[in-house]
């Protein structure tokens, strides 16, 4: 039997509010818009929902040149033109030149699928408006063949945004909204445990305290996020760094080992080094 409620997976830690959001979106069949800092697992969420509910996943990654029509279908006029010059028989049926998009594929799925529309804010500002009817009624019209495509099962739609553009109100009104907050220490510990089950308690505690103190450094251009923490711990494990190396009485006074995984901007590294230098002088 397939599961109907999402409660996180063994690879993904979901907070109660996130579970609520996902389950409400699934139950009421509304699209769920997910925002949050980069690296908080917005895209991964769709994969995990599909996995835990055992549904097929259709991913539609949006680029700045994406058009809403790409998700529905495209009419390949150029190959039809070429075929007509060559006198091919298939040129007489326009159906041969309709290329299905991700949305169409999801609509045709035999079981209720999960559809991920990733980074919708990358597209042109009119993009969300062009999808209003499709998301609302879960149907669209193919002008070339004069058929109406209707979803067999309303897909579970997840939309992620990095806030680079504001989305139109009419679009927002049709979605549920969830903002993934940056995890607190407790949740973070769970997340790390999920990814590195054999991690020593000591190293975890030291790594987390260093990580949060780096995050709290004022004036950082790009704060390190969950995915960066996980990368960093992976590095620490690979290099076999002992927890003592991280401790060094006060995390503020030393630059953390392998900081390149946490700070991704030379200005940030510079700022951090300066702060460390000042702290060292003050401490003397």
């Amino acid at each position: 039997m397939t599961q109907t409620r999402f409660a996180g997976t063994e690879r993904y830690v979901a907070t109660p509010d996130l579970m609520m959001a996902v389950n409400a979106a699934v139950t009421l069949a509304r699209p769920l818009l997910i925002k949050g800092e980069p690296g908080t697992g917005k895209t991964q969420l769709a994969e995990e929902i599909a996995r835990s509910l055992e549904r097929p996943l259709y991913e539609w990654h949006i680029k700045s040149t994406s058009k809403a029509q790409h998700g529905l279908y495209e009419y390949d006029a150029v190959s039809r033109l070429r075929d007509s010059q060559l006198g091919e028989a298939r040129v007489h049926d326009i159906r041969n030149y309709i290329v299905k998009g991700r949305l169409w594929e999801a609509f045709e799925s035999d079981v209720q699928p999960v559809l991920l529309i990733d980074e919708i804010d990358k597209a042109d500002i009119e993009f969300p408006n062009d999808l209003l009817r499709e998301l609302d009624r879960m149907e669209f019209y193919v002008h070339e063949t004069r058929e109406l495509i209707r979803a067999r099962h309303r897909p579970i739609i997840l939309i992620t945004s990095n806030n680079e553009k504001e989305l139109p109100d009419a679009f927002l009104r049709r979605c549920f909204f969830h903002y993934i907050r940056f995890p607190d220490t407790e949740t973070m510990e769970k997340i790390v445990r999920v990814h590195f089950p054999g991690l020593k308690q000591e190293l975890l505690a030291e790594a987390l305290s260093t990580f949060f103190s780096v995050r709290e450094t004022p004036g950082l251009k790009k704060k390190p996020s969950t995915s960066e923490l996980l990368d960093w711990i992976k590095l620490l494990l690979a290099e076999d760094i002992p927890p003592e190396a991280l401790r060094s009485d006060d995390p503020k006074k030393t630059i953390p080992v392998l900081h390149g995984a946490l700070l991704k901007n030379e200005q940030d590294v510079h700022l951090f080094e300066q702060l460390v230098f000042l702290n060292r002088r003050a401490g003397r």
Binding site: R30, L81, L172, R173, F176, F177
Partner: protein, 402 residues
Amino acid sequence: MLVRFFTDLRAGGVPVTLPEFLGLLEGLQARLAALSPEDFYYLARMALVKDERHFDRFDRVFAEHFAGAEKWFDRLAAEVPAEWLKQLTERLFSDEEKQRVAALGGWDKLLETLRQRLREQQGRHEGGNRWIGTAGTSPFGNQGFNPEGVRIGQAGSRERRAVKVWEARDYRNLDAGVELGTRNIKMALRRLRRFAREGAAEELDLDGTIDSTARSGGLLDIRMQPERRNAVKLLLLLDIGGSMDPHVKICEELFSAARAEFKHLEYFYFHNFPYERLWKDNRRRFSEITDTWALMRTYHRDYHVVFVGDATMSPYEIEQPGGSVEHWNEEPGRVWMQRIAAHFPRLVWLNPEPEDHWQWTPSISLARELIANRMFPLTLDGLDRAMRELKRKSPYTRPDVS
């Protein structure tokens, strides 16, 4: 009851619409949030609020509206059986402490007092030494220091308590009225990007041409599209020195964000108010100056002009010839401002001073009058409004004569 919550939200500045409210009711009907108030909070927030900047407003209205429910929860937590409390103290208290409890009249008296206080107390309480609340030294409440304290309102993990979630107001700094960070400024400046593809269709649309040619069976059908102009031209005029010193950081942030965002960005400095000269380098402000006339000749009227300054000075500096604080100006600042405003139809002024202080400074009123009220506070919200103003086809825009 929920209808009033809906109207309260709208009054509280959360843009909620009827379909969203119906969505919430639908969710309640589907028993998504039947048991816990926490779930109800999450469901309501998810269905009604679509922008994390409004979370804080939502939290405030929610807290206000469900204040009664909160009290009810405190009471529920307070009505624990006396037996249970006694067992708890057996475990927690040392013998010495238990004797002191006995000295106060014993458990029954303590609980009696508690019930009495619960009846007297109306609101939430924190600190202090008498009322029931948190972090105080009264015998009642939690996280307190009184050894015979009765733990109230902390039934489970504190994190999990519903009342906490919205009272914490974690989204406070996402409210739109707050001061800016570089990234936020960039987001706001991006509004100006929008008219990048507006205008007349002057460029060959290759894809469209191929497409429509193929559709019409090979007959050439040319399609045109508007030129893609992804560079808005921006002229930034920054007030520097004197009363602007407290605002240096935010101006730097604005400047660096604008630099990253616009390809055509020009900037000049002025002191307090623009006169006949401006400069680009503050260290050589007296040697390398730019004539304001030259500025207007060099930069075409399609530049968007953004003044940044507090406009806080003596009114003479605007009204009088020779009013400038650092040189003799033949013509008053007012004349120069009028000239600039006439040349550049798209013009706004960003003021780092809080908007509600403006009316108390005469020079700000004068400046606003000169630029037809196009002054906005230097906050995320103000910047947003300013960018909208720049985007607008303003009544000050004359038909282009070039």
